[in-house]
C-alpha cells in the first residue's frame, strides 16, 4: 500500500543536525579541503589529458595510489604535494588555486558602409560588402589589443 503523506523527518533531521553542529570549524575545514583538493587534482589531470593510470606512471606510483589521492580522504604530505607540483610543472601554490573562470569575450561592432550590397549574411567577408573597405590583420590586432586593455574599441 502506498503511503500518501510525506513523513515528518523532524526527529531524524535533528540527529543529523546535531552531529553536524558537533563538528568543529577546523575539522570541517580539514574534511572540506581534502575534497576540494581532490577535485582540483582531478581537474589538473584532465587539463593535462592524463588518466589515473598515466598520471600514476609519470609519478612511478600504482593507479590505486592515485585513486586514494582522489577519494577526498587523503592527508597529503608536503613531499607528495611537491612531487605532484613538479610533475604538473606548476608552482606549489598553484595546486591550491581555485579553478580559473573561463571568460569568453564577445565583441560586437558595426561597420557602416554607404553602398552595401543587399543580401549580406553574418559571415559575408567585408570585401564582398564593399570593395573599397579593407580590414587588415593590423586592424584586427588593434581591435584585439584595444579590447584587452579595456579601452573603447
Amino acid at each position: 500500500m502506498k503511503m500518501t503523506n510525506k513523513r515528518n523527518r523532524q526527529q531524524s533531521a535533528s540527529v543529523i543536525n546535531q552531529l553536524l553542529q558537533e563538528v568543529s570549524p577546523v575539522d570541517k575545514a580539514q574534511i572540506e579541503n581534502k575534497m576540494l583538493f581532490a577535485a582540483r587534482l582531478e581537474e589538473l589531470m584532465k587539463q593535462n589529458g592524463w588518466s589515473k593510470g598515466e598520471f600514476a606512471e609519470k609519478l612511478g606510483k600504482n593507479a590505486s595510489e592515485i585513486t586514494k589521492w582522489l577519494s577526498g580522504t587523503h592527508n597529503f604530505t608536503m613531499d607528495t604535494l611537491s612531487e605532484i607540483a613538479f610533475f604538473l610543472k606548476l608552482p606549489l601554490a598553484e595546486l591550491f588555486a581555485p579553478k580559473k573562470q573561463q571568460v569568453v569575450h564577445n565583441v560586437n561592432y558595426f561597420i557602416v558602409v554607404p553602398q552595401a550590397k543587399s543580401g549580406v549574411a553574418f559571415m559575408t567577408p567585408i570585401e564582398e560588402i564593399s570593395p573599397n573597405l579593407k580590414v587588415t590583420g593590423e586592424d584586427i590586432l588593434h581591435i584585439a589589443k584595444t579590447f584587452n586593455t579595456g579601452q573603447p574599441v
Binding site: 523527518r9 553536524l20 575534497m35 581532490a38
Partner: protein, 165 residues
C-alpha cells in the same frame, strides 16, 4: 514493499541534491537509520561522512572520484562513499551523475573481508540499494521517474511499490 524517496535537506545544496529512502512504514529513512544507529559507536566516522556529504551537496558535487564503484550490478550506479583511512564505516548509495545521490545505509566493514557479500549487514544494505536502483531504472525507462532539466532533481513518481514494475 513501498519505497518513498525524499530529499535530505540538511545535506543538499546547489551542487547536488541528496536523497534517501523510506521503506514501508518506517519512521526513518535508510540514511537516518544509519546515522542514528552508528552515531555512538562510530561517532567521529559518522560525522566525517555527514560533512563529506554536505560538502558534496554544497561545494563539489557528487564527483565520481569520491565513490567506490562497482558495488552493485554493472551500470546500476550503486556505490559506496570511500572510507577514510583507518575507518570501517561503509555507506552505500546510488549515484546519478554529479548532481544526484540517493543514500542508503551500511555498516562497519571489517578489514578481514574483501567484499560486502562476506558480511550479513553489508549484504542486506548493498542488496537493498541494488534492488532500489533496479526499480528506479525501470521507472526511468517507463518515464515515471525523470530528471529535472538541470539534472539536479529526481521528478515524477518518487513514492512507489515494488510490485508496480
Amino acid at each position: 514493499v513501498n519505497y518513498e524517496i525524499v530529499e535530505i535537506q540538511e545535506l543538499s545544496g546547489n551542487q547536488a541534491t541528496i536523497y534517501s529512502v523510506y521503506i514501508d512504514d518506517d519512521s526513518n529513512t535508510l540514511f537516518d537509520q544509519f546515522a542514528a544507529q552508528y552515531q555512538n559507536e562510530f561517532r567521529y566516522e559518522t560525522k566525517d561522512i555527514l560533512i563529506r556529504l554536505k560538502t558534496i551537496g554544497n561545494k563539489t558535487g557528487a564527483r565520481e572520484i569520491y565513490f567506490k564503484h562497482a558495488e552493485g550490478a554493472p551500470g546500476d550506479g550503486v556505490c559506496a562513499l570511500y572510507d577514510r583511512p583507518n575507518s570501517v564505516l561503509r555507506m552505500y548509495c546510488i549515484r546519478y551523475g554529479n548532481n544526484i545521490i540517493i543514500l542508503g545505509s551500511g555498516g562497519p566493514k571489517s578489514k578481514e573481508i574483501k567484499s560486502w557479500q562476506e558480511d550479513e549487514t553489508l549484504s542486506l544494505e548493498a542488496s537493498r540499494m541494488i534492488q532500489i536502483s533496479k526499480i528506479i531504472t525501470n521507472k526511468i525507462i517507463a518515464k515515471e521517474i525523470y530528471f529535472s532539466p538541470d539534472n539536479m532533481r529526481l521528478m515524477g513518481e518518487l513514492n512507489f511499490n515494488e510490485d508496480d514494475q
